[in-house]
């Protein structure tokens, strides 16, 4: 049942922080996972944890410094994609739903234009056939009647409508994998759940084979994701089935995340604004556990030795010296 679509093997991504600094920033550090057919993997972490970078590597917008992507069906390595120059045609099998529907649609182009581009490019359809296909897609994302939307421009639509257009455009390329990068965080609270359900339904309909859902919000992961991977400063700290992670967090960082979720009964603050001391990139530890400076259970070993990800029951992976 759990058929792997795309496996991500040990990807690392480093950026030169700027031209004059000698220490590169490690955005993603040796992360591996598999996207499974019909399943949604949630990628959770605070901003700067590398989750967006992983999403961009999947789409091919960026290439990993080390590691590779492998399509399970063909065995094709996608790692060499990194050698291609940026700006070339991308792999249509991975499409993306962006965080900000305002920024994801060019204000000067009509909905029709944005939607038909992938159809024309990938399906080799002429423009009238592409228009019909675009109308179908709009219906699929429940924007009806489609004719009313096609000739509009982004600023004539509401945020939720725009995000549906963005989703429709992602589907237009008939992708195997969709990367949804915080698809609801900019939307009105009232429609977030609906949007997440739409994505869930689209996966169920077979509009795509698998999905990577990137979020900082563990609660929304509960709605959409089958599995969750928690990232801390580019490192995978914990991974497992969504219910088990939320129900029984093992890594201290996961626990911290859960504790900081606003709870109607327990007044708290949303995660993004928790006043964690943000560390300067150069000052990140290159040895030892990345979380050690903030960890309440820190031990000597944490500062000298990087914890390996170790398998637990139910396919759970945890990288922590303190968890035995």
């Amino acid at each position: 049942m759990d058929q792997t679509i795309l496996s991500v093997e040990g990807i690392t991504k480093t950026f030169a922080s700027n031209r004059r600094s000698r220490d590169p920033v490690i955005a993603v550090n040796n992360v591996s996972f598999s996207l499974l057919r019909g399943r949604v993997l949630g990628l959770v972490g605070e901003s700067g944890s590398g989750k967006t970078t992983i999403g961009r590597i999947l789409t091919g917008v960026e290439s990993p410094t080390h590691g590779s992507l492998k399509w399970a069906t063909t065995g094709e390595e996608s790692g060499q994609r990194g050698k291609r120059r940026e700006g070339r045609a991308q792999d249509r099998r991975v499409q993306m739903v962006f965080q900000d529907p305002y920024a994801a649609l060019n204000p000067f182009n009509s909905i029709k234009y944005s939607l038909t581009r992938p159809i024309i490019n990938y399906m080799k359809m002429n423009s009238s056939a592409a228009k019909t296909k675009a109308e179908e897609l709009l219906e699929t994302v429940r924007l009806t009647p489609p004719a009313m939307f096609l000739d509009k421009r982004p600023h004539e639509l509401s945020g939720g409508q725009r995000q549906r257009v963005v989703i429709a455009r992602a589907l237009a390329a008939a992708p195997k994998v969709v990367v949804a990068d915080e698809p609801v965080s900019m939307l009105d609270v009232s429609i977030r759940a609906e949007m997440l359900r739409l994505l869930r339904d689209l996966l169920a309909q077979g509009q795509m084979e698998s999905m990577l859902y990137i979020t900082h919000d563990l609660l929304s992961a509960r709605i959409l994701a089958d599995q969750v991977m928690v990232l801390y400063q580019g490192n995978m700290v914990e991974m497992g089935q969504t219910d088990s992670i939320l129900g029984q967090p093992m890594h201290p960082y996961t626990r911290l995340l859960l504790d900081s979720i606003p709870n109607p009964r327990r007044r708290g603050r949303p995660l993004e604004s928790v006043a964690f001391p943000q560390l300067q990139s150069e000052e990140r530890l290159t040895t030892g556990c990345a979380f050690a400076p903030r960890c309440p259970f820190v031990m000597d070993i944490c500062r000298t030795q990087r914890p390996e990800a170790r398998a637990r029951d139910e396919g759970r992976l945890v990288a922590c010296h303190a968890v035995e």
Binding site: R56, V61, A104, A147, D151
Partner: protein, 305 residues
Amino acid sequence: MNTTTVQVSTNGSVTPTRPAWAEVWLMIIKTLWRNRKSRVGLILLAVFVFVACTGHLLAPYSVNDSSFATSAGPSARHWLGTTQAGQDVFSELLVGTASSIITSFSVGAIATILAMLIGITSGYVTGWLDDVLSFITNVFLVMPGLPLLIVLASYAPGKNLVLIIFIVGFTSWPWGARVLRSQVSTLRTRDFVIAARLAGDSSTRILVREILPNMLSLVIAGFLGSALFGLLTAVGLEFLGLGDPSQVSWGSMLYWAQNAGALMNGQWGWILAPGLCIAIFGMSLVLINFGFDEISNPRLRGDNE
């Protein structure tokens, strides 16, 4: 460039589709019109363009008519007096508007096209080509323009307007190129550009359909800046005698007036009028650019609206 504040009516599904570029222009003109300074600039510019188109009809006399008393001061028949050769100065001013504005706009156009070619290429590609183009841009940015122009113009085999336009145009692109480069390198990482790449669009299409419309206001601002610079530089060259003195323009009028000792001779109109026209025309461009500053810099918005 969070500028999509224009509301377009949404009367049903029959909204006629405007081409994307028309949309861009409409937005720009609306924004400009809302700003008081740029509105004044637009009106002034319109007046000058009108005079440029109709100058030869409005002029009371032909500029070739040298049958009047020579070197006369202002009078009822000759509002700004006559030249040393007996031509009507006011007629020259009206007729000269066309070539001055053509000079200004042509320089603006050449400089803008070069700035776009170099700046956008440099911003869109990475690696050695960007490095080389950026270096060239920075070098010409630092290179003092007028001395270079003087050297070029004085070596040129003939003196004519087209030559001046090309020489000035080909040396005034770097500022625009630099601005456009940084804008492109920002836009290149925007979500909608990434989306277009994921949609399989070619680089050229992405440039034309996604990036360019979003920097049109910068391009026009650069055009206006170059047009002003071009006019002032061309006028300076003409004043130094490096232009084409047979071409009636504001700059050549100043050249002739200065050579004929116009001020000494009490012919203040001959010197003042072309200079004022240059300054007011230039001011209209500066004022319009105030509006563009506000389009590209939201924090400046709210000025005198």
